[in-house]
């Protein structure tokens, strides 16, 4: 019941946006050459979806994206947990982490190309970098959130480091990690597209650039709808996962009770 309500409301939100877009485009505030109407764009999206090329392009992007996201998340959770749990490491790496985090991915593109060539690997380096830090910082904060009494319990019952990690630290950090994952997912997608666009590997990004230069506004915005759609899909998946993994957490508990 609530699930259905959620869907309907979410759909309403999207429809509302599309309607606003349509109205804005029709009003002529911006020339339609640059901002096509929502309906034109949707029609274009429909025809794009029927071409096999579109699907290979999409697959290219999704592969780079999921690989980059996977690497970033796994590495960040592992390193974040280690650094967060060992006070010495936390203090010793703090300044370096803060130094590295604000370095934009665009700045490391030439270096990535130098190291990995104009390849998917270079794109991956670019895609991994920024999301890694997001998840890393979220993990650090999540690890620090362990309840002192729960921690005392684990210590006094002789739970080893690994058991503490598995049964106390990770469950506590999980809400932070999931938020980190959601942040990272969209950033990784944006970077995948940017990397394709700049490095020139095949994928949605290059296609967007081609449509942009053609110029083919409906095509461009149709692809933007696709990236946004990917973002919505990840979020749906995360929410499902969250309901399973965090069924015990007040945030989920409360909403299930309502």
């Amino acid at each position: 019941m609530t699930a259905a309500r959620t869907r309907v409301l979410g759909l309403l939100g999207i429809l509302g946006f599309l309607a606003a877009w349509e109205a804005a485009a029709l009003s002529g505030a911006v020339s339609r050459t640059y901002l096509p109407t929502a309906s034109t764009t949707l029609a274009r999206l429909g025809s794009e979806l029927t071409t096999p090329d579109f699907w290979t392009t999409l697959a290219d992007t999704v592969i780079t994206w999921s690989a980059g996201l996977g690497i970033a998340v796994v590495a960040a959770i592992a390193l974040g947990a280690v650094v967060g749990l060992v006070p010495f490491l936390d203090r010793a790496t703090h300044s370096s982490v803060e130094f590295l985090r604000p370095i934009p991915s665009v700045a490391i593109i030439p270096l990535a190309v130098l190291v990995a060539g104009l390849s998917r690997e270079a794109a991956l380096m670019v895609v991994v970098y920024a999301p890694f830090w997001q998840v890393f910082v979220q993990v650090l904060h999540g690890v620090a959130d362990v309840d002192p009494v729960a921690q005392d319990t684990a210590r006094s019952y002789g739970l080893g480091r690994l058991d503490q990690l598995r049964h106390l630290v990770l469950p506590t950090a999980l809400p932070y990690v999931i938020t980190g994952f959601r942040l990272a997912a969209s950033v990784a997608l944006v970077l995948t597209i940017t990397a394709e666009l700049v490095i020139g590997n095949p994928g949605l990004g290059r296609q967007i650039e081609l449509y942009r230069s053609a110029p083919d506004a409906p095509g461009l915005y149709a692809l933007v709808l696709v990236t946004g759609g990917l973002g919505i899909l990840v979020n749906l998946a995360t929410r499902l996962l969250e309901r399973r993994l965090l069924h015990w957490h007040p945030s989920v508990r409360r909403e299930e009770a309502l």
Binding site: S95, P102, P104, A107, P250
Partner: protein, 261 residues
């Protein structure tokens, strides 16, 4: 409390090692893309200690500061509304997820059309990227407040602004602060990105310009400056966090004490 000497040691230890490794590596292989530290230091002094400070660096940092502050305000306000109101979250979440996934290359030209190509647009670009960590963390923090605490405030009829100010936001503050910490570094990144469009000055513009003009040492010096700004901003954040979350760290103090002993 750490002694000041140890604090400096911790802050500078790893960077010093990295510098050493860099120096050794660049000493042997003479890749033009990895200039030795001395070259970068020279470029740093030449590039940034001069008019560039006032024409490029300070305006950029000003936009960064405004953008980040706006993001925090908007993120916390919207996040609290969305986190406490189920229907609002259901309504907006897919839409927000949609916009989060739109790359700046597409978004910025549209922003330029709506806001022109001045500072407003650049600040909007910064905000468009760094509200998300604050927003998402606020939403999740607000959703996850201990039910006993909300029941307490409900039964004592602590409501509205007072409940937000004294119950909901403090309870969510550990998570909100995590979001703010992310927001700061993303803000710097977006400061750079925002200057890749319709601009001809700024720290970010300079970095991209150097990169394009193969001025490698200068580009590295820009990255160095950006990183240093990051460290400085993180320092400010640390001070703010210790104030905002003093109770949170106090609660955990016993734990840390044992970890040390």
């Amino acid at each position: 409390m750490l002694g000041p000497l140890r604090a400096v040691g911790y802050a500078a230890g790893l960077p010093a090692l990295a510098l050493l490794a860099w120096a050794l590596a660049t000493d042997r292989s003479a890749s033009i893309y990895f200039p030795p530290p001395a070259t970068i230091a020279q470029a740093f002094a030449d590039t940034w200690f001069g008019p560039a400070l006032t024409t490029d660096v300070l305006p950029s940092l000003g936009r960064f500061a405004i953008g980040v502050l706006l993001s925090i305000v908007v993120g916390v306000a919207a996040g609290t509304a969305i986190g406490t109101t189920r229907w609002l979250r259901d309504l907006l979440e897919p839409l927000l997820e949609f916009f989060r996934a739109v790359p700046p290359v597409v978004l910025v030209p549209v922003l330029m059309l709506m806001l022109g190509i001045g500072d407003t647009m650049r600040i909007a670009v910064i905000v468009s990227g760094c509200v998300w960590p604050v927003l998402l963390n606020t939403v999740e923090g607000v959703r996850g407040v201990d039910p006993v605490l909300t029941e307490t405030s409900r039964s004592y009829r602590v409501r509205g602004g007072l409940s937000l100010r004294y119950v909901v936001l403090p309870a969510a503050s550990p998570q909100i602060m995590a979001g703010i910490r992310l927001c700061l570094s993303i803000g710097l990144i977006l400061m750079v990105i925002s200057e890749m469009f319709a601009s001809s000055s700024g720290l970010g513009y300079r970095i991209v310009y150097f990169q394009r003009s193969f001025m490698i040492a200068q580009m590295w010096s820009g990255i160095l400056l950006l990183g240093l700004v990051g460290v400085a901003v993180a320092g400010l954040y640390g001070i703010a966090e210790r104030r905002v979350l003093h109770w949170y760290h106090g609660m955990r103090q016993g734990m840390r004490e044992v970890a040390r002993g």
